[in-house]
Structures are given as structure tokens and as C-alpha cells.
């Protein structure tokens, strides 16, 4: 088998994921979905190699990083390598995870190699031990309803505004704040 860490392969993966992500930033739902699923494969492989002693928590941390990538997406600049941006987020969440559980023992290998991130995707999802759905239910109405209507039931913002009685901007703000609140609840929840 050819080495997947080959520079050309990494480069084309970077460009491919970046173009999907940039389309996603412009509101292309399909490109964004593809981006997130391909990214989760890479992240899973990356986290798997970092969390060898805690395999049960890979999927939890992966979901946490995906939420973080989504919530931070406005900070990405098109002239910056996507690898560096995603890696910085994954690294931040990984360090936060270790700190929260004070598991410095696991934290022994280098966290500085961004190139590794897009090296080898791992597509087989494991079971997440934490249930995001339950955490979602705990959000306040103003945040939960917009997320449920738009994100889970697939209504448009206008339709969601009509069924919830909120204004359209309140629906948008509710989704935005709700996903941030979800990320905070996810953090440190086993």
C-alpha cells in the first residue's frame, strides 16, 4: 500500500476539504455536510492515536471537536491552511480534555505535528458514551426549539419562526447560542 502521509496526497486532501468548507461557509449545506463527515474520519484517526489508553472517549471528544469547529467557523480565514486551523482546535480541545480529567499520564506524546491530522481517516464510528440528544433537551426553550425545528425537523428559519412564535432573528440567535451552550455542556460531561 502506498504511504498515505505522502505530501501530495496531504496537499490535495487539504485543498479538497478547504473547498468544501469554504462552500459550507457560503451556506452550501451539502458541501458542509460532506466536509463534516470527511473531517470526522480524519479527526477520529487523529484522536484514536492520541487516546490509545481511553478508546471509550474517542467518539465523545470527536463530537466535542466537531461542535467546536462549527461554532468557531467564522474565525477561519481563506488564506490560512485549513489543516492548521482544525488542528489548533482539536489540540485545544484535547488539552482541555486532559486537563479536565487531569490525565497528564496520557498526555505524553508530541502534539505539534499538524501534518498528521489529515493523514489517515478512520471511518468506523464507535459508540459515544455521552448522549448529545439528552444535553440538547436540557437547553432553555428559546435555544432548544429553534434547533429542533430547523436543525432536526428541517424547517426553514421563516417556518420555524411561525411555529414557535419567535421572530426570525430570534430563531437564528437561538440556534447560534444554543449550539454554543451545547458545546459548553458537552465540555467535561462524561
Amino acid at each position: 500500500m502506498e504511504r498515505t502521509t505522502d505530501n501530495d496526497a496531504l496537499r490535495s486532501r487539504e485543498l479538497h476539504l478547504q473547498s468544501l468548507f469554504l462552500s459550507g461557509l457560503d451556506g452550501d449545506e451539502r458541501a458542509y455536510r460532506t466536509f463534516l463527515s470527511e473531517l470526522s474520519g480524519h479527526l477520529r484517526g487523529f484522536l484514536r492515536s492520541r487516546l490509545q489508553q481511553r478508546p471509550g472517549e474517542i467518539e465523545d471528544l470527536l463530537q466535542e471537536v466537531l461542535l467546536a469547529v462549527h461554532n468557531a467557523r467564522q474565525t477561519y480565514q481563506a488564506d490560512q491552511p485549513l489543516t492548521a486551523w482544525v488542528f489548533a482546535i482539536a489540540r485545544y480541545k484535547l488539552i482541555d480534555f486532559f486537563r479536565g480529567r487531569s490525565r497528564h499520564d496520557v498526555f505524553n506524546d508530541s502534539l505539534d505535528d499538524a501534518a498528521e491530522l489529515f493523514a489517515e481517516p478512520h471511518l468506523e464510528p464507535a459508540q459515544a458514551s455521552r448522549d448529545l440528544g439528552k444535553l440538547l433537551e436540557q437547553l432553555p426553550e428559546r435555544q432548544r426549539l429553534p434547533i429542533v425545528r430547523v436543525k432536526l425537523e428541517g424547517l426553514s428559519v421563516t417556518e420555524a419562526a411561525q411555529t414557535t412564535g419567535l421572530s426570525e432573528s430570534a430563531v437564528k440567535i437561538g440556534i447560534h447560542r444554543g449550539l454554543k451552550a451545547l458545546a459548553l455542556r458537552v465540555r467535561g460531561t462524561p
Binding site: 459550507g24 461557509l25 457560503d26 451556506g27 449545506e29 458542509y32 455536510r33 463534516l36 463527515s37 470526522s40 467518539e59 470527536l62 463530537q63 466537531l66 461542535l67 467546536a68 462549527h70 461554532n71 468557531a72 467557523r73 467564522q74 474565525t75 477561519y76 480565514q77 481563506a78 490560512q80 491552511p81 492548521a84 486551523w85 482544525v86 488542528f87 489548533a88 482546535i89 489540540r91 485545544y92 482541555d96 499538524a114 464510528p125 459515544a128 448522549d131 448529545l132 440528544g133 440538547l136 434547533i147 430547523v150 436543525k151 432536526l152 428541517g154 424547517l155 426553514s156 428559519v157 437564528k172 449550539l179 454554543k180 458545546a183 459548553l184 465540555r187
Partner: protein, 213 residues
Amino acid sequence: MKTDDLISLLAAGVAPVDRRAPAKRFSIAVLAGLLGAILLMVTLKGVRPDLGEVMATPIFWAKIAFPLCLMIGALGMVMRLARPGATSGPGKILIVAAVTAVWVGAVYVLMATAPDNRVAIILGNTWRVCALNIALLSIPGFVAVFWALRGLAPTNLTLSGACGGLLAGSMATIAYSFHCPEMQVTFWAVWYLLGMLVPTILGALLGRRWLRW
């Protein structure tokens, strides 16, 4: 919830992102910080009565240039630090250069001054209150800059907090310069810097806690 379900949730109905949102947040924060500091200065301290006259002297503008350089440097750094994967950038060069210039100037003035008067030009007349006043005027900017940072994604929390604090402190010092009667570079080199260090250190300490996301 499975990861695939989370991906569907995140992607569903995803809205276009305003790429200039981070720049807008910092514009609002800087505007709020400067206006807040000026308002506090005018109401609590008052503009110095001879402002019209001193504004005609180059030394007054040198006094403003010092915190202005720190403000530009700190703003450049903090805007970069708010983005994952970006280095802090060239802002620190401007900060180091400005502080060095003021210190070199202060040493030069001290050498040229008779030993008996040296302490007097360092302490001025207001050394007791200067740093405290600057720290006080930095409060609106501090809150505004931390608000801006909390909406973004800093990954080096201590450094981001420190740069945010320095940004607030330098904005406060610009405003304070319109009240402060001290015109000696030796005074600014110590007390202005100390005043700006208070929010900087506070920002570094609070950053770890307040900027977590």
C-alpha cells in the same frame, strides 16, 4: 446521539457566515473601550485646562504616541490570537519598540538631569494616582475586549487575555493623557507603563477562566 446525527444537525439549514464578523467585533470593542474611557475621564477627572496650549507642543503628541503604538500592537496581536492556528504576529515588535523608545528617552533625560532632581521627574506630582486611574479607565475596554474574544476562538488563553488587557490599558492611557498634567518621559516610562500592566496581568489571569470555550 451518533456522530452522523450530530453532523446532520450541524449541517442542516446552515446559514452563510459573515467572514468579517471577527473584525466587526473588535471594531465595536475598540470603539466602546475608547468612548468608555473618554467618558470616564471627562466625568471623573476632567480634561486638563491647558489642553489647547499643550496640544500645540510635540511632546504632547509623543505622549499620545506611546500608548497608541501599544494599542495598535496589542490589537494586531489579539485579533490574530482570536483565530485558531494563527501566530501572534508582528504586533509584539511594535510594543517592544515603543517601550524601548520610551525607556531610552527616559534614561537620556535622567542622565541630562542633575542628580538631585532625578527622583522628582520620575515621580512628578501625580505618581500616587496615575496607575490607579489608568486601571480604572480601562474597565469599559476590558469588558468590551473580553466580550469580543469570547465570541471568537482563542486557543492560547493566557496570552490572549494579556493582549486583551494591554489593549484595554492602552486605550485607557490614551484617554487619560488628555487629563494628566505630567509632561516628562521619565514619568510615562514608569507610571503609564505600570497602569497598563495592571489590566494586562489581570487579563492574563482571567483569560484562563473567562475565555475557555
